[in-house]
């Protein structure tokens, strides 16, 4: 077994009705790299993420994580073995405070979840961790606000905060900047960059905005109609004639696309 490979998919296929949303994707992601997936709308990127995080089961194919077949492992268990994800469409606990949203994620990977006889306030460590995370993602001044009252950009930060709180080894980030105001994006990308550099994390990033990923990515995969069209370093991808012809023009033109 190759220790430097964190997650690997083999011939992963997901069919919805007649649609091959993910169509035979074999991908290898090395430990402590930032691997970006780009591709046009409907290419199957989110579906591929759903297969990695266990949201949905593949029609065929396998997923290996740290050398182990996790194809049938349910999503709540994947969180405990170090796979965490954020969502393209904000997916938080709307009526709970910003702090509680993140605290829950920290509590989830601890060992106190079934202590139904104890007051949750006794477990300071989760709350302290949540406070630190909120500091990191720039929400420290809004800890007591119900999450639903956050502006869109704030919700995107919270989405990332919830993911970071569980301290995963592998972060699956599905368009973390989707719909964010342009001026807020650098801050979020900075957080992602720092997480990667200081935390020894592996990140798979789905992103529409090519300019953002060119200089942070170690590798880039291009997805199209459920299949991997090309894979390589950012320079190789930029130079790849097929990719260039078919997509890069599009994607560069896609800068303001907000989803």
């Amino acid at each position: 077994m190759d220790d430097s490979i964190l997650i690997e998919t083999r011939e992963l296929v997901k069919i919805f009705g007649g649609l091959r949303a993910v169509d035979g994707v074999s991908m290898t992601v090395r430990t402590q790299t930032l691997h970006t997936i780009i591709g046009p709308n409907g290419a199957g990127k989110t579906t591929f993420f759903n297969l990695l995080s266990g949201n949905i089961r593949p029609t065929s194919g396998k997923v290996f994580y740290k050398g182990r077949d996790i194809t049938g492992v349910p999503p709540y268990r994947r969180a405990h073995i170090g796979i965490g994800r954020s969502f393209q469409i904000t997916n938080v606990f709307p009526n709970l405070s910003v702090l509680e949203n993140v605290r829950l994620a920290a509590q989830a990977v601890g060992h106190d979840n079934y202590k139904f006889w104890a007051d949750h306030r006794r477990f300071h460590k989760y709350e302290e961790r949540a406070q630190a995370i909120l500091q990191q993602v720039g929400l420290a001044s809004q800890t007591n606000l119900p999450a639903r009252l956050l502006p869109h950009g704030g919700k995107r930060k919270l989405e990332l905060g919830i993911l970071l709180a569980s301290d995963p080894d592998l972060l699956l980030l599905d368009e973390p900047t989707a719909g964010m105001a342009r001026e807020e994006i650098p801050m979020l990308m900075e957080v992602i960059r720092s997480v990667r550099e200081t935390g020894k994390k592996t990140i798979i990033l789905v992103e529409h905005k090519m300019d953002l990923v060119m200089n942070v990515s170690d590798r880039i995969s291009v997805m199209h109609q459920g299949q991997l069209l090309a894979e390589g370093t950012p320079l190789e991808i930029a130079a790849n004639p097929t990719v260039q012809k078919a997509y890069l023009g599009d994607l560069y033109g896609d800068l303001t696309e907000g989803k």
Binding site: Y76, N91, L104, N113, Y114, A118, I162
Partner: protein, 367 residues
């Protein structure tokens, strides 16, 4: 938060008192109620031996003092039932249309076991009620929590209906009294609500306080926080690592046990159980109490139980047979004007007011 961590025990005790005094005040009033009622609305003629506490206690066993203790006993029993329902609906987001199944089974189990067929002691029967409720809620929890939302409501309704039909069936008349139910089963003399109303009142109060404290502890625990997360967004709760099924089952079982205890107390108090205890109507009652009082709080269902119980009494006196119509209209008005129930709406308002104050102060400070 650093503030919380660094405060001395002295001020934390004060803060705790500040948080708990409304509860303590109400508890104090409930504890003193039989004496107060004895002194004010009891029948003076009922006091035989002179003055003092014992005469007060005798007066408490008479007239309106006795009646109103009975009213509070029923309120407390329904409050336990409603708190248990809120654990499902308000905290975990599970809409069950079959919660009366536990209330009724608890009542029947108590009535049958202390009845002539078995002659068990009150303590043994109570233990059995708890064990039966545990088994029943585990089984039906596992069966019904596989589905969600309206489907779960329908599945739980079907299970409850099954018990209703069982209770009504002529085949078990010897045990259940079929459609007549059971009446006048031998409640131990020392616990008779007719002869020792005040004693039964305190027994119920103890059960109520225990239920409140245990449920409060549960909802404030890490487990309770996961229940709330499940209510808010089950999908995300799963994705951050919670196997939500177990938390829903925990809520279901705890709710089942407390509902059964409420049913057992009701059976003891009324010395009667009927199939209606297991009916959809009974679940709707407790649903209404929870919604009117405010879901997702414990004070809400208690308030809801009090209001519905008292409203039922007064409306029936004022409007006679047509009281349910007035009740229906009032219920609609409450749902329209207080969409989060009484407690929920008050909380939302106070949040808005506090928020408004903060913003005003910030504006004034030129921030």
């Amino acid at each position: 938060m650093n503030e919380t961590l660094s405060t001395t025990t002295h001020s934390s005790a004060r803060r705790r008192l500040a948080q708990w005094w409304p509860y303590l005040l109400i508890l104090g009033l409930l504890v003193l109620f039989p004496l107060l009622a004895g002194a004010t609305i009891g029948d003076p003629a009922a006091a035989q031996d002179g003055a003092g506490l014992s005469s007060l206690m005798q007066r408490a066993e008479s007239g309106a003092a006795k009646f109103w203790q009975g009213m509070i006993i029923q309120i407390l029993i329904f409050a336990i039932f409603a708190m248990s329902y809120d654990l499902l609906l308000g905290y975990t987001g599970i809409l069950s249309f079959g919660h009366a199944m536990f209330f009724g089974t608890g009542g029947y189990a108590m009535a049958i076991l202390i009845g002539r067929n078995f002659n068990w002691s009150f303590g043994m029967a109570l233990l059995a009620v708890i064990l039966i409720a545990l088994a029943q809620s585990l089984i039906f929890g596992v069966l019904s929590l596989r589905v969600k939302g309206v489907y779960l409501a329908m599945v739980t309704l079907a299970f409850a209906e099954m018990f209703y039909i069982l209770a009504e069936a002529g085949d078990f008349r010897k045990y259940t009294g079929a459609d007549d139910g059971l009446h006048g089963f031998p409640v131990p003399g020392w616990l008779s609500a007719t002869d020792h109303r005040t004693r039964f009142y305190y027994l119920t109060l103890i059960f109520f306080v225990a239920a409140f404290l245990i449920i409060k502890r549960l909802v404030d625990s890490p487990t309770g926080k996961v229940m709330v997360a499940t209510r808010e967004n089950e999908h995300r709760a799963t994705m951050i690592g919670f196997n939500t099924f177990w938390y829903k089952l925990t809520a279901f079982v705890a709710a089942g046990v407390f509902a059964a205890l409420a049913g057992a107390l009701s059976a003891m108090y009324l010395v009667s159980v009927t199939p209606s205890m297991l009916s959809l109507g009974r679940t709707i009652d407790v649903l209404a109490m929870t919604i009117i009082g405010g879901m997702g709080t414990l004070v809400g269902p208690i308030l809801g139980a009090s209001i519905i119980q008292l409203l039922g009494y007064w409306l029936e006196r004022w409007f006679g047979a047509s009281w349910t119509l007035v009740y229906g209209i009032l219920f609609m008005l409450i749902v329209i004007f207080l969409p989060y129930g009484i407690v929920g709406t008050l909380r939302a308002r106070s949040f808005q007011i506090r928020d408004g104050w903060k913003q005003l102060q910030q504006t004034l400070a030129g921030k």
